[in-house]
Amino acid sequence: MLTEEKNINVEEQVVAYCKDNIINQDIKHPLYPARLGAYELFRAHGLPTTRNEQWKYTNISSKLERIPSQSDVKPVPVNLDNFINNFEIVKKAKENKDSVLVFMDGAMQSQLSIVNTDTKTVSVTSLKKDPIPDWAVKLNSEKHSQNVNEMFNLNTALMEDGAIININNNKGIADNIYIIHVGNNDGFYNYRHMINVQNGAHVNIIEFKISNKVDIEALYTSSIIWQIGNNCVVNNVKYQAHNQITIGFNQQYADIANDTEFNSFTISSGSKLLREFRDINCNGSNSNISISGINLLDGDSHIDTMLSVKHKAPNTISREKYKSILNDNSKGVFQGNIIVDDIAQKTIAKQSIDALILSKNAEHDAKPELEIYADDVQCGHGATTGQISQDSLFYLKSRGIPEEEAKRLLVHAFLTDALEEIKDKKILETFADVMNNMLNRVSKGNLNV
């Protein structure tokens, strides 16, 4: 018996949308071959269903009913600059003369973006408006040619804009780049960032994705492709707080060379459906990576994290630490796959997935997997799902701490060791206000940030 009927209508809509898009593309554009190939692959396979093991717990059809209608012209609101500047994170970034790249509905807003040119080590171009550097064409084509991920293919076929960022060796003085994305209009948006971190470069990239209004119906696909060289330090924090009707499919790919540290942390909340696909390759030896995050779900939110970490060289370390808090009728899904190749001796890989359930109807499905082909490794995984301990709550209350504050302390305690994976303490401080705000809402039973 089939567990899921495909929603043929929405799939036809998406394929037709892709077709229209391809027809309008310049066939001489360097990304055209990848677009066309990806479109053909997507048309052949369609939207993924729960029969696909990687989508077993996420039924797209039950969440995605149609492509949201959109107007051709999407005026930038006059107050967008003010809206963005209201965020403490942006204020601080501008004060520190960090680079701030502003996107609205997937399109780069050059007039609002600032690239710090003082350091002479960062260059940023727009995928839509500027010539595509050779490295980006090559990287794009490599990722596309080997890809079976339907939503990545859809993103390749449809990508409209994105930031193409190159960071040269900055001799240990980290460049800070903020990518602010505001969802402002109903519609279907597709964007792709490509980031080339050259040998010896240090960079902090902070992504901040928010819906401007609660009633914007957005569907989007996004991809971020990292190419990271030798001896780099990369800290990446992504904070995404969508409204409850946004549907998003995020793909992250990273290839990491030798002696590099890569810490990537995601804080997600809201969304009708959010898919976080992360595919990380430790291609070089002596690298140390952390792929971690926090998910806060309430209402009917559904967040699905699909993580694959591949150790392809000896002496690499990976940690995946995820914490989820679920309320109301929300659903969290985590599939984490660690693959250790036969040559990847001395790999250390640790994965932990913990969920704190605050309501009767919330659900969390965790599926950790290890595939180990080397014999001298330390690998482990663990998954827990539980509720706030009533004994702990009573203990705190018995000392006069009101229930809301007691829950706040316990939720914070639950999240603490995941937050420690944000290795750059300045970034962690940057998020202090956001985290406090978030915890206050959690303790009041409202997770929507």
Partner: protein
């Protein structure tokens, strides 16, 4: 001052407290002893406001106010303190953060100005030194990895900071070696005054050598069946409960 009258409490249809009554005057120390399963810990938890119990009848009054309608945190800020038999370990919350949240909640509830952080630190350092608690302990996660003695001293530290009117000590002597017992008892004795009262629940007379009670009660089947002075504890130590629970 603290009065429990005709308290009947059940858990899943089992009656644990049965028409229990006890009057505690200002500055008095009442010891409650009794065989296992007589309802002593239930009494402590019900007084403090734990939610797993059904109160079928009775009242718990502190200074004339019925506590039964109040949440656990409100009972605490009104002046009731329960020292836990098994203090709860909470990873991720440092003892210091916990103490600060707790003290601030008390000050706010009683419309007192909240201490500045330096003043709070001074107060904590002073009170911890009196209980031989070093700085490193209060910086660690709450009760995590604490020895039995450290956990109980931490309870007494909280008691000292929160300045309660009625303290219920639920088997505070369990799991303590002789030196730790003396230290904890001294901590309690230092807090005794003409206003503050104590209910000391214990299995062993030994604790009462250090904390001298004004009254000793024997609790059995959810109520007090015998009341005496400290000699009653000595008598029990010698001959057990058999003479009383026939």
């Amino acid at each position: 001052m603290f009065n429990i009258s005709n308290l009947t409490v059940s858990v899943e249809d089992n009656e644990i407290l049965n028409n229990f009554s006890l009057d505690v005057g200002p500055g008095e120390v009442h010891a409650i002893m009794g065989p296992n399963g007589s309802g002593k810990s239930t009494l402590a938890h019900v007084c403090a406001g734990k939610e797993d119990y059904t109160v079928l009848n009775g009242e718990i009054n502190l200074n004339g106010e019925d506590l039964l309608d109040l949440e656990a945190d409100e009972r605490s800020t009104k002046g009731l303190f329960l020292a836990f038999q098994y203090p709860i370990e909470i990873p991720g919350v440092t003892t210091l953060t916990f103490l600060k949240s707790s003290l601030e909640a008390h000050y706010k509830a009683n419309n007192k100005e909240v201490l500045s952080t330096p003043d709070f630190m001074k107060l904590v350092k002073k009170k911890s030194a009196e209980l031989n608690i070093d700085d490193s302990m209060i910086k660690r996660p709450l009760n995590v990895g604490f020895s039995g003695g450290e956990k109980k001293r931490n309870e007494i530290l909280q008691m000292a900071l929160l300045d309660p009117e009625i303290c219920i000590l639920d088997e505070t002597d369990s799991g303590l070696d002789i030196d730790a017992l003396r230290l904890v008892a001294e901590g309690v004795n230092n807090l005794r005054n003409e206003k503050r009262s104590f209910i000391v629940i214990t299995h062993y007379q030994r604790l009462l050598d250090y904390i001298k009670p004004d009254f000793v009660h024997i609790m059995y089947n959810g109520k007090i069946i015998e009341t005496g002075d400290s000699s009653l504890a000595l008598e029990l130590e010698k001959s057990g409960y058999n003479n009383y629970i026939k």
